[in-house]
Structure formats: structure tokens, C-alpha cells
Symmetry: C2
Amino acid sequence: MDCWKINYESYDPKEEPKQEALCVLGNGYIAARGAAEESHDDDIHYPGTYLAGGFNRMESEVSGKIIENEDFVNWPNWLILSFRPVDGNWLNLDEFDILEYQKILDLEKGILIRKVLVKDNDGRETFLESRRLVHINDRHYAAIQWHLTPKNWSGNIIVKTALDGTVINNNVARYSDLNQDHLNPLDQGQLGEDGIYLNVETKQSRIRMSQAACTNVFIDGQQTAVNRETHQKDGYIEQQITFHAYQNKKVAIEKIVAIYTSRDNAISEPFAEAATSIDRAEQFDQMLSSHQSAWKRIWHRVDITMDGQEKDQLVLRLHIFHLMQTASKNTIDLDVGVPSRGLHGEAYRGHILWDELFIFPFLNFRVPEISRELINYRYRRLPEAEHMAKEASYKGAMFPWQSGSNGREESQVIHLNPQSGRWIPDDTHLQRHVNAAIAHNVWQYYQVSRDKEFLSFFGAELFLQIAKFWCSKTTYNEKRKKYEIKGVVGPDEYHTRYPGSDQPGINNNSYTNIMTLWVLDHAFKILDILNQGRRGELLTRLNINHEDLDRWDRITKGMFIPVIEKNIIDQFEGFDQLKELDWEEYHKKYGKVLRLDRILESEDDDVNRYKANKQADVLMLFYLLSSDELNRLLIKSGYKLDKDFIPKNISHHEKLSSHGSTLSKLVHSWVTARSNRKKSWNHFREALMSDFQDIQGGTTPEGIHLGAMAGTVDLIQRCYLGLEIQQDVLKFNPVIPEKLQKICTRLRYRSHWIKIEVNKKTLRIISDGGWADEITININDELFTLRKGDRKEFSLL
Amino acid sequence: MDCWKINYESYDPKEEPKQEALCVLGNGYIAARGAAEESHDDDIHYPGTYLAGGFNRMESEVSGKIIENEDFVNWPNWLILSFRPVDGNWLNLDEFDILEYQKILDLEKGILIRKVLVKDNDGRETFLESRRLVHINDRHYAAIQWHLTPKNWSGNIIVKTALDGTVINNNVARYSDLNQDHLNPLDQGQLGEDGIYLNVETKQSRIRMSQAACTNVFIDGQQTAVNRETHQKDGYIEQQITFHAYQNKKVAIEKIVAIYTSRDNAISEPFAEAATSIDRAEQFDQMLSSHQSAWKRIWHRVDITMDGQEKDQLVLRLHIFHLMQTASKNTIDLDVGVPSRGLHGEAYRGHILWDELFIFPFLNFRVPEISRELINYRYRRLPEAEHMAKEASYKGAMFPWQSGSNGREESQVIHLNPQSGRWIPDDTHLQRHVNAAIAHNVWQYYQVSRDKEFLSFFGAELFLQIAKFWCSKTTYNEKRKKYEIKGVVGPDEYHTRYPGSDQPGINNNSYTNIMTLWVLDHAFKILDILNQGRRGELLTRLNINHEDLDRWDRITKGMFIPVIEKNIIDQFEGFDQLKELDWEEYHKKYGKVLRLDRILESEDDDVNRYKANKQADVLMLFYLLSSDELNRLLIKSGYKLDKDFIPKNISHHEKLSSHGSTLSKLVHSWVTARSNRKKSWNHFREALMSDFQDIQGGTTPEGIHLGAMAGTVDLIQRCYLGLEIQQDVLKFNPVIPEKLQKICTRLRYRSHWIKIEVNKKTLRIISDGGWADEITININDELFTLRKGDRKEFSLL
């Protein structure tokens, strides 16, 4: 099995398979979906998506006032390429006979290949091999190459090549009531001899998008004289290219596209740049060559190999591939965040939630220059978060649960339950824990990169403003003598209010409280790291005085945690008092109850009443924080739990989860990795296959789950390798699943590049030599020094 | 004397004085010129300038084909504020009697204050105090506050407040044939009760600019009910506000403006953001308070005090003020470079030349986060520079001498000699040395900041591509057995070709050759710093192999330097053979001969024929490189000069300079600092006063000379403090000019903040405590260790 190629051998092109959705090529700027370019021209409404951000606020839609925000808008379709014999029909895979068909997504080279032998209605057999790329090293280029061979005929051929700005955003059926039409045509026309161009503008955000394309025909490597005819209407331009083709003589057709928007840096005007770029463009093979080299360099940095499970290896690489297509070096400078569904599908309308949390560990250890930029995305929206905190009578910065272009809150306030057809209030925007995630990301980035300049000038400000928010969000309970956080929603979105309450939000969500503890505790570490001058500047600018710092300190020493039965951390205060759910009955009735909330609502019941969660918030803590760290924080706030409190909590909470989130399996795999390897591996495989097999049934075509994808990669890295940074020491504590023979990967840590090879017996660490400074590593709780060029081997037995 | 306030006591508002040009308030995003807001509404065509970049290519203009590139375009005028009694005339300083007048540019607080007592044609006396700010901490806000007191009358007053998009770019008279009109009106209108807005778009680059303004009237701190009338036409909107004013009762009028463009990050759409911002805006006094605190923090970082010379101190601060208004934290993310004339005047049409070279040492040691971003500006234009090299059959990246928005070459190819009225060919674009300057900046930034991540992912690529260019630009002279660089122009723009030659460019310009030597020598240092993984990535991506590296090495060991008379480095090969100029005669005839080139051309002669330079290129080397460094490079290439070659070269070259560049005095001050303190001080003062007194007669109103301004600051720092980084050691070697008692400043060095105090006897160094790492300093060639919180004192006697 080739662990680099997704080969759709069994693919029937007349039926869109689930995996079709995974065939997206992208470079962080342009994305191109793998739908059939040859036949379904009119069906391709999502050739690519651009920029992260929300484009619609559902509540506004409902209240009749549409505030559009169109950052997540489809590119005009630049894939259109078709052919027909002058006296025949356009290539149509739905109607022609398909004699052979093969489709390959080559992850290693970043190309999509399709080979098809068709017989048209007149009996003409034609073999077509198509290769497509979205250039990973030059964000503005994409290209398609066709090799076309008439098998049993000769004659004049017409090739149609077009740019189509009449596309709409209709990837997600349930959003069909929202505005789908975001592009205003501006102009289109011919460009030189062989070029066409199209300029459009988004309706509300007024972002100009320019595309230029040139299509040429080559026989025996020589450009062939062709006849061209151009047809156009508002928002659409098409060129028909006529030339003679001979039986069994391969013809190469190349379409090169240059794409710019008015949001690009270092441009004069997008159309001017697109025209210049298409003029300067290389031919397909040259472009392919630089594209492949770039992917080679990327894979060298980011690959993770797992000996033993070939299919799993392939899917793991697919996840890495999607990650690197969403957040690449090309996204630096574009001011984009990480949308939950990548740049792939339109679900969540491109909103930014908390998915970076899962993606950062992977990026930090390989391409920190990208994670830095993702923190910058948040930093640029700090003023909006500061405004939001102020409006809600808090201090510091309160980042919204879902946001987009300008950083304002874009969470829905009602949502549709497809099971009941009812619109119900949605209070999930009370997930203030996104602020802890952002702070955690800043810290993690700094831990891995040691980028002091960035921490000093950007990261620290973000972190401290979030700390300030948490401090103001916390109230002191005189009776308990503890600090509390009220009126929030945890990552478990099933519980948004107490049964019967008319106030949304629950109190003392353990995840939120402990992460707040973590933030305030680490705020002091950040202040210690800053030099005195910068610390002074920041404290003045943020208006943080000694009293504030004292309160931060007191909170870390007295945060309330809802501990029950001595060792069990409850989901939130009062969760334990909720009704037991008859899981067996529901499983019997509905099978998997992944979306228990919708089931209950359709029964006129309310999941808020039950001791049942979408994902276990407490387990999320074990995923994020090491047991040492968690223990330290709990003790600091006055909770001394038994040594085995973690497994106890795992078995307590596992029973209560419906796994309604794609992240849930991941977290469960993590927490069982050391106690129950087999169970952990099974959870891992479910998480790994969730998009590949579209286990939620239909959500993958609406967009891959980038956080879950990244999580599987991170699971190998942080969980199975046991990778952690503890007090400036890089710690390894591998636990290899039974099914695997060996895990290999490369890490970047504080300017060192380190190669890791682990099998069940041995851990091998090879340093390629970084900066002069040596680093300290911890293996089996023993410290070692890793110097430039060191190769070390440790027994794991 | 208040060393913070420029007080125009002798100012007659009816005559525009030279210094008026200096009264620009800016924050790197918005700039506002100090022209009389009250009376000259129609004359203010340059209230502010936006973004760096060229907007016109002179050669294209002349050849009849205008390629516009409008990055350096005036904002619509948002300053317009005037008043009249209902039955009187609009305030008019040209026609009214001015009984009292005072104007103050307060550098410390970043505000412009004007106090005027006027008597109108009907005998009404009114006292008006105006304060204006451009917010340094929130790039989108600017504000004007008026305190108006009718002295001998009561009655209804009409205040006029407007936004005017009908402005043109007409600051520079000799550009009047170029297109001055860059804005298309889009729409304008009312915004709520008290607001107005204006949207315009640049004609070619299609950048949308949105402004929203609200104007309110306060009496005794209470907002007063007013009557509002709005008038508008395409591109212009005005509100007339009527209210009653009482004799001797002070009225406050506040105009707050919010400004956005479509180039901003973290926005939905510029008008939407401007409307939101004006809605959220604070009142003037609150805005002033946060603005002042921000300036306080800035001054704490950037101030340099010189005890002994109060006026010089004031002008030095003016220079720092202009620097911090041009390159501020607000410019980060805007993708702007440093235009030669700041964001102040329109000369050079906003083009980016090599001025960063002079500005970097100041920024690096105080606000490295800004210099990093300025390198990024170049990095984003690396593909264009790579293209330019390829087009000219070179390798690597060749940055153009003058560039703008998209990084293409924008130097003029002919220019007007105002002295003769003739257009003459201009070959100054052959100043390839700009590439050495960019590489030098990368290195200097890294030296001061130790920002390894940046060097690794951005800086090194830029540096190595420039090294590659220089390598390909160099040719081997078999006869000489030396490497040569032909067909260039040095910083001395008088010499662009050999007399009688039909080929532009001169050969072996010593500055260019030695800086190339420096670049290739340091390319190896950069490669050493990179870790193996990244080095491998980069060498592959840039296609640099061992043969290339061998050639780089050979060039550094065999660069040809035009040494004459054993110890004199000639300006370029053959310069010494040129005709002697009869300086005395020309001085007699023309006085100062700052622009000798124009004088000679007007006499049908050619400065290319003479041994006379605009500025001495060789001396520029002494400015940029320490004598140790320079000696090392010369010896490496086989030139062993006498120990005293530097003073010898200085006296040789000094005689040959017309000081036609604002930078020339600076360089001369530098090189004489140790040999002739008095002379050095005189040169320094001339450089210091050059904009303040507009010594070139008329160039300052067209824009301050930012490089020269920065240079004076750098002179204090690098020259008089003797500050240098040598092999990871921070070296001080102070030489205090006789006229000064003491110099104090703060430096930021590798995350340490260090306070320096030097008088003639003592150097005091106070470390405020940076990261844990200690640093090594060198005082009088002795090494010391500086630890967190250290205070050290060294005798200089």
C-alpha cells in the first residue's frame, strides 16, 4: 500500500462518495475542491474559499436585519475546463460511457490526478489524464494540465476554459435561507492573445478578487497554433479553443491561473498584479517542479510515520496535508485565523472558534512562524475584545466564542434542530473558555519557540488582558471563602442553563475555573519573564496595579472547584444533582446518540435536565494539562485529591458522555493511553477515521473537522510520545500503542531540529544542531543534555 | 527654555514660515499637517498622507503612458473647522485683525496648540484656543478641540465642520505636470444625529478610504443643544452647527474623526468600521489622556538628552518625534516602508529608497518590533526583486533603487534641472548598493535583537538572495586576478557614467565593492547561525550549492578595490583621472554649490567630468563599518593599508565634496568625531538644523529628510557614545563633544533595557534587568559582564 496516495479505485464518478469531499487542494490562500472538473461545471459552486471569518450572523438574519460579513466567500470558479469534438458533445461523465476511471490524491506531491477513458454518444473514445495543483510556494498560482488522447478518432477539438464569478455559497443545505450570493461582477475580458480575466467584488466587504488565466495547447512539447473565440457575460468569461487532434496522438492542454485580492500585501491593484503574474507564469511542468520541491521541504518538517498500520498512516498524512493546506506560510500576512472546518467547507460559515488549541501543538513544534501569525490574528482583534469586555462590564479583553473578520461576536443565538424542525435559543456563546485557550496558545508558543521578542511585544499583552478579564469575571463567595465564576458554558455545549432557570449559563464549570486558575497562575510567570522596562510599560498601558495583582494571586489560591465524592471533579456546580439519563433506553431507541441534545429536544425534553454531556469537560483538562501541573493548581487552590484521582475521574465521566463532539473521542483516547492502551487505540482510530469515513454522516462534505484532524496528530506527538515541556525541560515519556511498531517524527524546539524515533524498546533522539545553546531533556525522569549534532538512545524497557 | 515645545512666538500667521512645515502630527497611519485650519480651508490640500509607495512613474508620464500607483495619496481633508457669527464672516486670519497669536508644537504630548485673539471686520473680538491630536495609540482616531470665547459680543454662532475628498496632491510644484488627482468620490452622508461620513476610493489602486466625524458643542462641560444643517456634494460633506454664545463664556467644540481604509487588517469593511468607531469614540479629554500616556511611554523608550545645548536638544527631539510619527507601532501590519520624506511631504512621491539604513540603528535599539516589520516590508517584495534580477540576467534578488507599493523599480529615468529648465537622462537607478543596505539592516536587526526566529524564517532568505545577486553581478578580471563590479552608480549621484561614454554606470565603486564584500562575508555568518535543518531548506529553496558558496568565498578574498597612492581608496575606478574642479571659482560664482550637478549642466558642462562628488562614498564606509571591520575586509581581499588610512582618506575626500546630499554633513561629522571634535560638532549642528532651518531652501516644505533626521540621532548614539556590537559584545567608546556636558539615553539590547549616562569623565550603565542571560560589554577594550539590575560606572579619563 502506498501511504502517500489516496487512490479511489472503487470510485464511481457518477456517485459522489464521501471521500470526494477530502480531495481539496489548497495553499492557505487558494483552495480547489476535487469535484469533477470535466463534467460537472455547473455544479461546482465551491472551487475554493478565501480567508477565515464569518459572513452571516444568524440572529441578525432572523431578526430581519442582515449584517453581512463576507470573508468566507467562494472564489470565482477557475477550474472550468472541458472539451468536445467540433461535431460532438461536451465531455459529460454522467452521460458518456466510462471505460476506465482512476482518481488519486497524491499527498506527497500535493496534486490531484484523474485518469478517465470515456466513450461519447457517437462512439468516440478519448483518454484524459488530468493533473491539478494549487501552488504551495507561490500563493497566487494554480494550474491544471490535461493529457488528452483520441483513441479511435481524429478531428477538430474545442476546449472550453472559463472563469466564473456567478458562483454562490451553497455548500451547507441548512444555511440555504441565508444570503448565498456574495459576489458582484465588475468586469471581464481578454488579456493578450491567450489570456482571459475576471474581476469581481464581494457585496458587503467590498473585497476585490481578480483572476487571470491562460490556456495553451501543446503537441510534442510544442505550442500549437489554435483558434480562439471568447464569450462573456457579466461575471463570466469563457474562451473556446479549436485545434486539430490526431488519433492516438497525445495533446497537452495547460490552464494556468493567477489570483489576487485587494487584501493582499505588496500589490498595486489586484487586477494589475494578476495580469502581470499570468504574463510571468511558467509552464505547468516547471510549476509542478517547484510545487513538489516545496511540498518535499514541508513534509520533511511535518511528517509523522507510524510503522505497522498502513491505512492509519495514510489517513494521518491526509490530516497533516489538510492542516498544511489551511495554515501554511501563505497565510502569514493574510490576517486569517483557523476556521473550524479549514478552508474546505462552509459549515460554521468560516467562523473562528477555539480550534487553534488543538492545532498549535502540531504547528509550534514544526512551523512556529505560522503559529506566531495565528496569535497575531488574535492580537489584532484585541481592541474588539477589550470593547466586548467593557460592554459586558468586565475588564481586560473578552474574546467572543465565534468570530470573524473584525473580531466581533458572531455566535448564533438561536439554532435549528433538524430533528424537530424547531428553532431554539442557543446560549453556547457563553463559552468564555475560549479566552483561556488563547492565553494557553500564547504560552505554548513561547514555550516551544522561546520567541522572547514576540512574547514581549505582542503575546504578553494578549495574555495579561485575558488574565484581567478572568479576574473581573470572578466573584468572591463570602460564605464559601472561595472565588467563583458564574453564568458560563463549558466546552460541553449540552449544558447552557440550570433546569427551569430563565437565566442562561451554569456556575463553576470545572474546566473554566481550572483554566482560569491556570491563566492567572501563568500571568505571573509571564510578568517574570518580561524585563522590567517592558513590564512597566505594559502594566501602565493595561492599567494593572498592585491591588489587581494581589487579587490575581488570591484567586489562584482560592478558586472554587466543584469536587464531589472527595476525588471527583464535577462537570460544574450542581451537575451531579441532575437527573440520571437512561442511556440504555436511548441507545436502544436511537443507536448512537451523538447529538443527544437534539433527540431530547425533539421529544420536548431538555438535555439540560440530565447528567449527560456532549464531551466531558473534566477530561479535557487532562488532555490539556499534565497531571503534575493539574495537581499543583488544585493544591494551590486548596484541593488535595488522592493520587489516583485521574483514573477515577476518567471512569466517572466516561459513562456520562454521548461523544457528540468530534473532539470527544480524541480526549478519551488521550486519557486512556496509559491505563488502557487498547481502548485508547480504538478511540484514536475512531477519531482518525471520523472525517475519512464521515462518521457523523454528512458533516464532512460541509467541511473537514480541522481541530479533530490536528488532534489526532497531536495525540501521536504529545500523548504517545509523551512530549511535554516542563520548566524549560523537554520531556519524553513514550507509550506506544500495541498495534504500532515504531513512530518517527521531527520536532523543532527552541531553534533545534530534533529527529525522534521510538519503538517499544528504544527512544532515539538525533539533534541536527541548532543554535549554540544546549537543551535539557527528560527521559524517564532522568535529565540529559542534548548538544549540537548529538545522537542519543534510551531504553524504554 | 522648554526643550519639549516648539513655540512659534515670532510667527506671523499671514506669512507661512519655514518651520510651519514641521508642524505635522502623525501616527504612522494618519498624518495631519499644521496649516491654518481656521482660515485656509481651501488651501489645505495635504492634511495627511497615507502609506508609503510611489504613485507615479515619471518616465511613463513623459512617454505619454501613465502607470499610476497611488499609495502615497492625501487623505480627504478632515481638519476643516471654522466659525462665524450668524451675521458675520467666516474666521479668516488673512483679513481679520490678529491681536494675539501663539502656536506651539508640544513634542512631549504630541499635540499642536494654537491660541489666537482676532477682531473681525465688524469689531467682534474672539479668543480661540485650538488643540489637535492624531492618536498615537489608536491609529484610527484624530481629534480637534476648540475653546472659543466671544470677548466683546454675544450671539448665535455657526460652526462649520467638514470632510473633503476633493483634495489633490499638489505639495511639490515641479510635479504639477503629473497627475495630482487621485480620489474618486463614492458617497457621503449623515451618520446618526451628530455625525457625517465620506467614502472615497483611489483612482488606480482602488483603495477605499472611509472617514466619519462627529462634532459637538459643550458649555460648562455639558453638551449643548444645537441646530444642525448638512450640505453635501460629490466627495464633500459639511455640517453647519448653530448655537448661542455668550460674551466671555467659553464654549468647547470637539471634532472627533475615525479613519479606515480597505487595506486595514481586522476589519469587515472600512465604512462599517469608521461608523462603529465614531460611535464608540471617547470625548476629546479622555482621548487626549490616553494619547499623552502613550507618548509618555514612547518618550521613555526613545528620548535622548544632551545637557548643554537647549535648542539642539529641542531639535533633536523634533527629529525623534518625526521618526516615531512615521514608523510607529501603528505601521506594523500596514505593509509600509520608510519613505525618504516620511509621511510628511510629497517629494520623491513617497518612494522607498535606502533611508532605513540610517533609521535602523535608532529603531533597533529602542523599538525592534518596528524594524522587524520594516524588514518584512522588503521580504514581501522579495519575489519582485527576484524577478527583477532574472530580467536583468542576474541571480538572487535585485531590489530597485526606488520602489513603492508592489516593489517594482520606480526610479525616474529623466529629471528636470530647474536651473536650466532641461530634462536630462537620469541613471541614478543603477544604485545597486540599496541591496547591500537591506542586507546590512537584516544583520543589524539580528545583532541587536537576537531574534533568531525571524532571522531563520525571513531575514536569512532575504540576505542570501541578495548575496546571490551580488555574486552574479561580480565578474572576474583574469588580468587583474580580481573580482569586479561594473556598471553601477554609488551613493554619490553626480557620477553616473564615464565622460564621453554612451554607457551609463561606473566601475568598481569602492562603496559598492566593499559592501558586497561585507555581504558575502556575512552570508557565511548567517549560514553558520542557522541550524542545519533550516540551512538545508534554504539552500535548496534558493538553489545555492557548494560551487556558489566557493565563489562567494573567492570573491571575499579577491574583490578589487580602487586604491590609489597606496592608502587612498578612490571613489571608483578612474575617478582620480577626472578633471579637477576649480572649487574656488564656483564658490565665488554661486556661493554654496550644494547641487553642483545642476550648476554644471546649466553651463552645458557635465559633473561626470570632474573630481567632485555629491557625497563622499568612501566616507560612507567609515560611517557604516567600524575601522576594525573595514580593515578586516580589506585585508581579506588583499589590501593592507597603513594604520592611519582612515584620517588620510577623510582629508582626501573631504575636499572633493559639494555636500549636495542632506546625509553628507552627517557622514562628515561622524568621520571627524574623534580627530577634530569641533569640526565634527559643527557638521553635526548643520545636519541637525538642515530641516529646522530648511537649509536647502524650500525642500523641507516638500517633506522632511527622514534619513538625515535619523542620522543625527544615530550620530549621538553610535558615534558620540561609540556604540557598536562586535562579536556579540556591546561596546561603548564615548567621545563627548566639547559643547555637551552629558548625554543620557535608554537602549534595548537583546531583551535588556539599559540606561546610559555619559559625561566627559564617566560612563554609567544601569541595567533594568532583562531575560536571565547576562550580556558582555566592552568599555575601553576591557570586557565586563552586565547582569540583571546591575549599575556600573566607568571612568573615561
